[in-house]
């Protein structure tokens, strides 16, 4: 363990340090913006980003992934902060961390496999829309200066990288912040600055136990928020880990990541920071900047703290317009634009899942609800498709007056009506044979559908016998595990 960890730390020192600095520069405006989304002082998001990045560097399961205060979790806190204040947010953050540690021990990361590509695309698109919507309050009921400055900022962000030489060295979001700040400062334009949004950190963070009464009333207030934060945090973190796994062609320890996110959130809550999780955009920036190891995440966290503690006076005069420009960039970059094009080409069920996920998120402002909706609708579509894998052959032998029904395929809740519909109850025959040895009865709905058919046929006066019921209902037992037995899978695919 120690040895491989050593490689994670010192295997790429130069690349990690450079990338960590790039990430820290990008993290500062984001952490401030996410604090504003959550309705807390900028220092809450900045302390959180420092604490989470530094801790996840040590305890996380994915080297080179960046975690900090995020939009996804900030969006969940808005009403808690508005109704109950910061201290309840800190308590909810600690509780969310504890829940994530429990989730890690319960191996809940394995449920990630239920999240389809469509749900993931919907998650990202919804996140992008929410980040953009969160900027609208800054852009309504303001003077034209605000629009001009935001436009200037966006222009710099997207055009500066085309500048020869320096365009590839200096991060353009940082250039945007410097230029827009200088313009406002020297032209003395009266627009809102970060300093107007609340307190910035001027000291190192200190350990603080959240100042809330430890009773059931508190728990009933914070628990729903903590559960949402824990779920959304793990979702985005595990998704991001998959993205980084894919980009770097390496593997990560998802269980350790779940527990690590929990530890990092507890740590953040105890030094006055808000909850966070992994950040897809920043993690990709880290990889793109050459960051691969744990050191990059650690440097990002430490450098961020140095930046804000020493530069808090300068930070406070940065206009909100520069920040809004950065956030619009994050929103544009997070949105999966190709998914709009593929709405036409993808199967309509996939598009429906993606769109439903987006709608539910934008409506509830809770990414967890959107993901659950996406999973649910996706599963229904899947059940619908599976129910097509069933048909019944029927054969009548005139000499003996025997009608034989040959059931083939998957019988379960969604296909049981179709199953019943295959039988001709009006036919007057002496004897009926239902051969189910090539069918699979997946649930008790399937079994009771068979019962229904048998009773109905008996009522019409036929002698009914069933062949192969034992084989058919093997699948009914939950213990029927086919995953490591190719011959069992073969049976299900091709009949017994």
């Amino acid at each position: 363990m120690l040895l491989s960890a050593k490689q994670d730390w010192i295997g790429n020192i130069r690349g990690d340090i450079l990338a960590g600095i790039v990430v820290a520069l990008a993290l500062v405006p984001e952490a401030i913006a996410f604090s504003i989304i959550a309705g807390v002082d900028p220092k809450v998001g900045l302390y959180a980003s420092f604490a989470i990045a530094v801790m996840i560097a040590v305890v996380g399961g994915r080297a080179g992934m960046i975690s900090a205060a995020t939009a996804a979790t900030a969006l969940l806190m808005v009403t808690l902060v508005k109704d109950h204040g910061l201290q309840y947010l800190l308590a909810a953050t600690v509780l969310a961390g504890a829940l994530q540690i429990v989730a890690g021990y319960l191996n809940l990361h394995k449920f990630m496999s239920f999240i389809s590509k469509s749900v993931m695309t919907g998650f990202l698109n919804a996140l992008a829309i929410l980040i953009f919507m969160a900027q609208l309050p800054e852009l309504t009921n303001v003077t034209w200066h605000m629009y001009a400055l935001t436009g200037l900022g966006l222009g710099i962000i997207y055009l500066f990288p085309y500048m020869p030489k320096i365009g590839k060295i200096l991060p353009s979001p940082l250039v945007n912040i410097i230029v827009v700040t200088l313009v406002v400062y020297f032209m003395d334009i009266d627009v809102r600055t970060i300093g107007d949004m609340g307190e910035l950190p001027d000291t190192l963070p200190i350990f603080l136990w959240p100042d809330v009464p430890l009773n059931w009333a508190t728990l009933s207030i914070i628990l729903p928020y903590s559960v949402s934060i824990a779920i959304v945090g793990l979702l985005e973190s595990l998704m991001t880990a998959n993205v980084i796994d894919e980009l770097t062609d390496t593997t990560s320890d998802k269980k350790r990541e779940c527990k690590g996110q929990g530890i990092a959130n507890i740590g953040s809550g105890l030094i006055g920071g808000m909850a966070g999780c992994a950040m897809i955009g920043q993690s990709i920036i880290n990889v793109k900047s050459g960051g691969r190891g744990r050191l990059s995440t650690m440097v990002a966290g430490l450098f961020l703290l140095v930046l804000v503690v020493f530069l808090s006076d300068i930070l406070s005069i940065v206009p909100m317009a520069a920040l809004v420009a950065v956030m619009i960039m994050v929103s544009i970059g997070t949105f999966d634009w190709s998914s709009i094009k593929s709405l036409k080409t993808n199967p309509s069920s996939a598009s429906a899942v993606m769109v439903a996920t987006v709608i539910v998120v934008v409506w509830t402002h809770n990414l967890a609800f959107g993901v659950f909706t996406g999973i649910l609708i996706g599963s229904l579509f899947m059940a619908q498709r599976l129910s097509q894998f069933m048909y019944i052959e029927s054969d009548y032998d005139e000499a003996t007056d025997i009608r034989t029904y040959n059931v083939i395929g998957q019988v379960f809740f969604n296909s049981s009506d179709k199953f019943i519909g295959f039988f001709d109850f009006k036919e007057a025959v002496d004897k009926i044979v239902i051969d189910v040895h090539r069918a699979h009865f997946w649930d008790i709905t399937a079994v009771s559908a068979l019962d229904k058919v048998v009773i109905k046929l008996r009522r019409e006066g036929a002698d009914v016998s069933i062949i192969g019921l034992n084989e058919a209902s093997e699948t009914l037992l939950d213990k029927f595990a086919v995953h490591d037995k190719p011959e069992e899978i073969e049976k299900i695919m091709g009949g017994h």
Binding site: L2, G167, S172
Partner: protein, 290 residues
């Protein structure tokens, strides 16, 4: 040298200075043990992109673009590593054929050395490794960065090559009574380490002479009635220092000992005897794992 029935001698080679010596030692071990020989070359990605971008802008479809870029870069790297490895393997195979061996396999796999050893562990009887790989060429002192991890990854005996090949004549067994050193003794007695035709020096070092002597008596009794050419010696003093001196004065070619019987955490805090010996002694090593 059979610890497993159908195992082979696995020679892990790369383009390093020690690569040729590893091949020659593996051939010698295959001849004495009558086991098939397998040459292994691992292709390990650096996973460090040469073209880092520091603009820090989140752009649309950034992931897809970056994925394309990184996979293109690694594809070229892989192709080159595979071609280099093929040449190294062909060279090794030719040497083995010239030495009269017939059962020769050459294999290339992706992944780190230790990962690969774990994957292949069922078919290995003995691993032959260079003390340091191509990343450490020219560094006279020191061990390869992957060595400890590789040794810890498997449980078959491991032959560590530290220098050029010369027909080995004398082997020293560092005996301290530990389970792995007893295992080494046992394997020698059973002939599991093959017909190496070596003079065997059993050396025990202890802070007290009497203790060292007890260990030697133990080993002598154990090996009584064998046809080994034995030299035994009990020494009072500090283990690594005395063993190093002994091997130096007696022109020992190979040191045999148990390796890494403590966990990594123990090694992290107290230092590892195995690592110290590997660093200090100039002989080749035959390490016995639990």
């Amino acid at each position: 040298m059979t610890t497993h029935e159908q195992g082979c001698i696995l020679a892990c080679i790369d383009g390093s200075e020690l690569g040729n010596s590893v091949v020659e030692h593996a051939i010698w071990l295959a001849q004495t043990s009558q086991l098939p020989i397998k040459f292994l070359h691992t292709i390990e990605h650096s996973h460090h992109s040469e073209n880092a971008h520091h603009e820090g802008t989140i752009t649309p479809n950034m992931k897809e673009h970056l994925l394309d870029e990184l996979s293109d870069e690694e594809r070229l790297e892989s192709k080159k590593l595979i071609a280099d490895g093929k040449a190294i393997l062909a060279n090794a195979k030719q040497k083995a054929e010239q030495a009269g061996l017939s059962n020769i396999i050459a294999k290339q796999r992706h992944g780190s050395l230790s990962e690969t050893l774990v994957d292949l562990k069922d078919e290995i009887s003995l691993v032959v490794l260079g003390a340091k790989g191509e990343d450490h060429d020219g560094n006279k002192q020191g061990l390869g960065s992957q060595l400890e991890e590789a040794i810890r990854a498997i449980h078959s005996p491991i032959f560590i090559v530290k220098d050029a090949f010369g027909q080995p004549k004398k082997m020293m067994l560092a005996y301290n009574g530990s389970p792995t050193s007893q295992q080494a003794l046992n394997q020698i007695k059973q002939g599991q380490l093959g017909d190496l035709d070596l003079e065997l020096h059993i050396v025990s070092v202890h802070k007290e002479q009497a203790q060292a002597q007890t260990l030697i008596d133990e080993a002598n009794t154990f090996l009584a009635n064998t046809e080994l050419r034995l030299v035994t010696r009990a020494i009072e003093g500090e283990t690594v220092e005395e063993l190093t001196q002994y091997q130096h004065h007696n022109q020992i070619d190979i040191t045999t000992m148990g390796a890494f019987s403590h966990g990594k955490v123990h090694g992290f805090f107290f230092g590892s005897f195995t690592t110290e010996m590997l660093l200090e002694c100039s002989t080749h090593f035959l390490l016995i794992r639990e």
